[in-house]
């Protein structure tokens, strides 16, 4: 795609985070989830993305904590590798090459050194059949390990990771596909199959949708297409198996999960209600309703304190033990759902707009909402509820959709159009006008106009007036009218405030208006009626002139800006781009192009035209007054581009190269056919972004206790002392617990401790640094000691060869670096240090006395 050396098309935001089940780490501090080609690590408390684990070259299909080491995580990908990561530091430890695409990954503590993955049968990529295989991970010190010894466990399994689960400490594995449940016992090396009938009398749907196994008990829970949950027991016999049925969901159960102790079963589906069933008392249920969108995955933290649900609107919700939503990680909401339903040629969706106030990108979000998405920070700012109705999660129900939105120039007014079409009834359209409230910093509903037109609204635009008194909105509709709406101050002071009312209704020979556009100084309004463009004066509502260039109805209208404001550009359905001069009222030029979208940069004279040619979209950027395009880019993406926007930059670029000048003031964003948000960047910008992203690591590993504050202060001082000489200062401060005395003091119960006066001196002693033990040498010792300790801890918790190797390697590296830094000290610096040390003592002594 890189055609012009320095301008390239890049993905912008909108990474999908609801693709696979997220994983909560053992200490419940981090949440890992697969997102495109990387694994994202989020903090469960702050919702921030801490870092990405980047390395895979294709879609990541699964994330799994390593059962034998809770600080490491496996990830698998379509690119045929399984990678092992240290997620706290974001380091790739190992890469296992499998050789064929991996669709999901499982492991159990019972099976050491073995992981189970789902791969296509026969290693064929296009095969529709999948098998579960066990992979023995070879023990080797290399980074890149080939592990191609696969042993099949189950064949013909589903590629959906929710359909396979390990049971009771890894004794058996359960897999469901279609109407069949397979259970494979590892000890007996025997598998049992249970199948259900196609459907029962009541029109139920018995297909399996997900499987979960009880962690302590021999029980398998399966979800079904008709919303039933079956609990299978006694399945180690072919004939005598039993199951009980639970039914609450009215649509397919999309995810099931047992809590770690097995006391509760969680289930979720399209209803967006998290249901908690008590194990063995299934009549008792707890609900957590209105989570926002259909639940796709449920995960529970290993200590059972946190639940997390991922939703179909690209959102992960973190829930504290089924009572309270504690955090919401929200990505850019994809609106693929909408595109699927629209008929060809007419899309039920708002344009991309930029909020003039917050510079956020505004587009459809959750059903009935507009999402405000910060382009600079790649983060969803908030969702504005437009429809303000309880969303009923039911398949096949027609909902209100936000189809049009427009901001006025200053961002104080937002106009939205929502519509709902039922098969039998009339179209319901509401036009809503929202005023920006300075106090709450959000939009507040001012006026609702129900049925503003008798048919669908085709276009809507605000008059970009310089004086704020005469705010005006023009809407055009299929009913053949265009209407001007004006903010009217009420006649009586008792009314709440100004509201909007219709000011003018215009028609032109009964033709249907398609688009409308105000000129830059808002003295002219252009409304296109099929093949004719009519130009009106919005002050007197006189029809000034008509312009027409048949054949072909007008598709897009655009006034030029700044020095080109005398031009009016239009595209017709018959592949024509016309430019009229409004001073002479004549056609200035026209050219034959199949333009799918024409839009003007609000900050410059530039216009962008997306042309559809042979399944690909080309981009031309031009000035209406100049015959040659400023910039052209062939094959920006496949399919037609129908949504694009110029977003003003926060800081102007100062590029002077000719073909990137048009990106100086604003940036062009567009949505592809598959709803990917793309943008154009220059090389200079890329470099700057890379530099800034490195400083974004957030450190929240140490809890802020009063004790930490005391010790931390001490540490900080110590660190400041080291600063001039040590290059290691940037490293994280070691935890104070590393000192034996402090540990003793903190961890021994209070009633068995000796008297405080006795402890105090010991405690203070432990905090002091002996004067004789000098800088470089001291630090080396200390470092080494710390590393030793941490190493010991590691070994205490798990006897894992590899990790200790890695650790000791790291330790060695750090020791070396410290040694390198030490000799750089001069005598003067040492003296200075000593002085500071003395100061330090006196401060502590003072503290003790008081």
């Amino acid at each position: 795609m890189v055609e012009h050396g320095d301008i390239r098309v890049v993905h912008r935001g909108g990474s999908k985070i609801d693709f696979r089940q997220p994983v909560i780490t053992n200490d419940s501090r981090f949440l890992l989830c697969a997102s495109g080609e990387c694994v994202k690590v989020f903090s469960t408390s702050t919702e921030e993305c801490i870092h990405d684990l980047q390395g895979h070259t294709d879609l990541v299909t699964g994330v799994l904590l390593r059962p034998s080491n809770h600080l490491q995580v496996y990830s698998c990908s379509i690119d045929g590798t399984v990678r092992l990561w240290d997620f706290t530091d974001g380091i790739l430890i190992k890469t296992y090459v499998i050789g064929c695409p991996v669709y999901s990954i499982y492991a159990s503590a019972n099976h050491e050194g073995v992981i189970f993955i789902v791969v296509p049968m026969l290693g064929d990529k296009r095969s529709e059949l999948f098998q579960l295989v066990a992979v023995h991970l070879p023990q080797s010190g290399d980074q890149l390990v080939e592990s191609r010894e696969l042993s099949a466990v189950l064949s013909n399994v589903s590629s959906n990771p929710a359909d396979i689960a390990f049971g009771r400490g890894g004794e058996y594995i359960a897999s469901a596909k279609g109407l069949q449940l397979k259970v494979f016992f590892f000890k007996k090396q025997k598998s049992y199959e249970f199948s259900l009938k196609e459907d029962n009398k009541k029109g139920g749907l018995n297909t399996f949708t997900c499987v979960a196994c009880h962690p302590k008990d021999d029980c398998i829970a399966t979800g079904h297409g008709d919303g039933k949950i079956r609990l299978w027991r006694n399945f180690n016999h072919k004939k005598e198996y039993t199951y009980s049925t639970l039914h609450w969901h009215h649509n397919a159960v999309s995810s099931l999960c047992f809590t770690p102790e097995g006391t509760n079963l969680l289930s979720g589906g399209v209803e967006s209600v998290l249901v908690q069933w008590r194990y063995n008392q299934e009549s008792q249920r707890d609900f957590l309703p209105r989570l926002g969108a259909a639940i796709t995955h449920i995960a529970v933290s290993p200590d059972g304190a946190l639940f997390c649900t991922s939703h179909s609107d690209n959102k992960i919700t973190i829930i504290q033990s089924c009572v309270k939503v504690s955090a919401v990680i929200q990505g850019l909401v994809k609106v693929l759902r909408l595109m699927a339903r629209t008929k060809e040629g007419e899309s039920v969706q708002t344009d991309l707009i930029v909020d003039p106030r917050s510079k956020a990108l505004v587009l459809n979000g959750k059903p009935g909402h507009l999402q405000f998405y910060s382009l600079q920070r790649d983060k969803l700012l908030y969702n504005l509820d437009i429809v303000q109705q309880e969303y009923i999660h039911e398949l096949g129900l027609e909902q209100f959709e936000v189809v049009k939105a427009a901001f006025d120039a200053s961002g104080t007014w937002l106009a939205t159009v929502e519509e709902r079409k039922q098969k039998s009834a009339e179209l319901e359209v509401n036009l809503k006008l929202w005023a920006f409230d300075e106090q709450t910093q959000s939009f507040v509903l001012n006026t609702t106009i129900s049925a503003p037109h008798e048919a669908r609204i085709t276009a809507m635009c605000f008059r970009q007036a310089t004086d704020s008194q005469t705010t005006m909105l023009v809407s055009t509709s299929k009913d053949g009218h265009f209407k001007a709406w004006q903010l009217a101050t009420p006649a009586h002071t008792e009314d709440e405030g100004p509201s909007w009312s219709c000011d003018f209704v215009g028609t032109y020979h009964g033709l249907v208006p398609e688009c409308c556009c105000f000129s830059a100084d808002s003295s002219l309004l252009a409304v296109s009626f099929q093949e004719v463009v009519t130009v009106w004066s919005p002050t007197s509502w006189e029809l000034l002139t008509t312009l027409s260039q048949p054949p072909g109805a007008i598709r897009d209208l655009c006034f030029g800006r700044l020095s080109c404001s005398k031009y009016l550009l239009g595209t017709t359905a018959k592949n024509l781009l016309c430019c009229w001069n409004l001073l002479t009222c004549s056609l200035e030029w026209s050219t034959s192009m199949d333009i799918s979208l024409l839009l003007a940069d609000p900050l410059s004279e530039n216009m962008a035209a997306f042309c559809c040619q042979a399944g690909c979209t080309d981009l031309f950027v031009f000035k209406p007054s100049e015959p040659r395009p400023l910039f052209s880019h062939k094959a920006v993406c496949s399919g037609t581009v129908t949504r694009a926007v110029f977003a003003p930059r926060e800081k102007m670029l100062d590029s002077c190269e000719e073909n990137s000048q048009w990106l100086n003031r604003s940036q062009l964003h567009f949505l592809t056919q598959y709803m990917d948000l793309m943008t154009f960047t220059t090389k200079a910008e890329d470099d700057r972004l890379m530099a800034s992203s490195k400083q974004l690591v957030i450190d929240d590993s140490v809890a802020m206790t009063p004790f930490y504050l005391l010790l931390g202060k001490h540490r900080h001082q110590q660190q400041e002392n080291q600063d001039p000489m040590s290059s290691l200062s940037a490293e994280r401060t070691p935890l104070p617990q590393s000192s034996v005395a402090i540990k003793e003091l903190l961890q021994t119960p209070a009633h068995v401790l000796p008297s405080t006066s006795f402890l105090c001196s010991m405690f203070v002693q432990s905090l002091l640094i002996s004067v004789t033990d000098l800088s470089g040498c001291r630090e080396n010792n200390k470092k080494a000691e710390e590393e030793m300790e941490s190493e010991k801890e590691e070994e205490d918790s798990e006897q894992e060869m590899e990790s200790s190797i890695v650790r000791s390697e790291q330790a060695a590296v750090s020791v070396q670096s410290a040694e390198c830094a030490a000799p750089a000290l001069t005598k003067a610096q040492v003296r200075e240090l000593r002085r500071l040390k003395k100061l330090d003592h006196s401060w502590l002594a003072g503290l003790l006395d008081s």
Partner: protein, 528 residues
Amino acid sequence: MASFKPTNIPVYPKLGEKVTQDTLYWKNYKAPVQIKEFGAITNIDFSPVTPHNFAVTAFTRIHIYGPFSQEPVKTFTRFKDTAYCGRFRSDGQLLVAGCEDSVVRLFDVGGKVALRMFRGHTKAVHVTDFTSDRYQILTGSDDYTCRLWDIPNATELNVYQEHTDYIRCGITSKLNRDLFITGSYDHTLKVFDARVDKSVMSMDHGQPIESLLLYPSEGLLVSAGGRYVKVWDLLKGGQPLVSLRNHHKTVTCLALSSNGQRLLSASLDRHVKVYSTTNYKVVHNFDYAASILSLALAPDDESIVVGMTNSILSIKHRKSPEESREISGQQRRRPSYRVFVKGKNYVPKQDDYLVSKPVKQYLAKYDKQLKKFNVSKALDCALEKWIRLRNPEVPVAVIKELDRRGTLKNALAGRDEQQLSRLLSFLIGNLVDMRFAPVLVVAAEMILDIYRSILGQSPVIDRQLLRMQDLLEREIDYQKELVEVLGMLDTMFASSLPKMEVPCSSGFFVQNCSVLSGFFCWISCEGK
């Protein structure tokens, strides 16, 4: 977890009059006291001195009422025929009245017998008034003349014979003892100066003049005649200032509120209109039971007295400040309020540790049921009598919400006779309301669909269905007429304004009509 979003009840613009300062002021009167007189009440006049008694001229009598009495404190009955225009002198001591028998009588307010009788007119005297020097009387008569009389001598001072028709109204200047104005059925009003023999100013009202009024500054003159009320600027030589046409029958009487800010006009169309004297817009409107002949306001607007053709005198007294405060005082005295806010207005200090409590969401009854997906119960709650009658938009909004959820059919089905008749009566009441029609037509169709099998089993339901059919028939006729009118208007607009864009609004009616007529066909088929 988002909270439950309650059903959106749309706020419809209020169709009635808006609450303004004026409506508050003019509504602040007690219920009227109604007194039956012997005949049509032609004139009411307030005494200028306290206690501001007022003289009511009706048939052959003049009654004088005290400000709060319901019985007359004094009655003058010595009229041979119908009395007209009983008026007080500016000291409140003397009263003058004309009569059908052409004799003008002067009474002492304390006495019974006429002090003076002025004979000279040849026909009924409808106009009498004292001049501002208190010693002369102005009269106007159906013999086309107006005369000035001297009270002490009971002699005629001057005769003016300029009008060419009955003189039915006249007024003397309060500032100048020589100036007076008369209005006549010959459409003119004339300003006379007693120092000269001729009128000094003449204005054409265009209609027979019924009433005259001078502003306190006497720079402006108001005349009422026909359907028009006209204001004239006397200082500019009788230049017409404004012409008001707010009544649809003859305006009979004019009055000015005490501060001169509001002008009142009473008419045979049974309305009293209140105009602002700054912009001459109608700011308030009173309705009465019969055509109004006379109207008077007590000083300081303490009471409004209206006399009507059906010989009923209606007196409205202003509510005393205590009374109007009493209502609000009762509300404030509700005991539970303090208990509710107990501790809630406590402002936390700097070191206080705040424990935030989740705000409880209060839902309406129907919303509580909707939250639980109890659709039938939700509809029942919304159809409770007081909601149904007071806020019909609530049941409509709930029906709409149920329709949106796709569960309206479930909510409507399975009802017994009583519940169904309640539903139907609500539909009959609101089906043709333009605001609710689109929603309710859907519901009505569903009801007919669901209950078609049991038609004819219950007389109550059948009767209601027939009523609905009637209602729809009438509505369709009405809509057709409207469309016809619109068509006429469109042709007229098209012919008179060929170049202007015509805002075409006929679409809605046509559409609405088509919906209703389609539905009507359906219901009539069902009926058969």
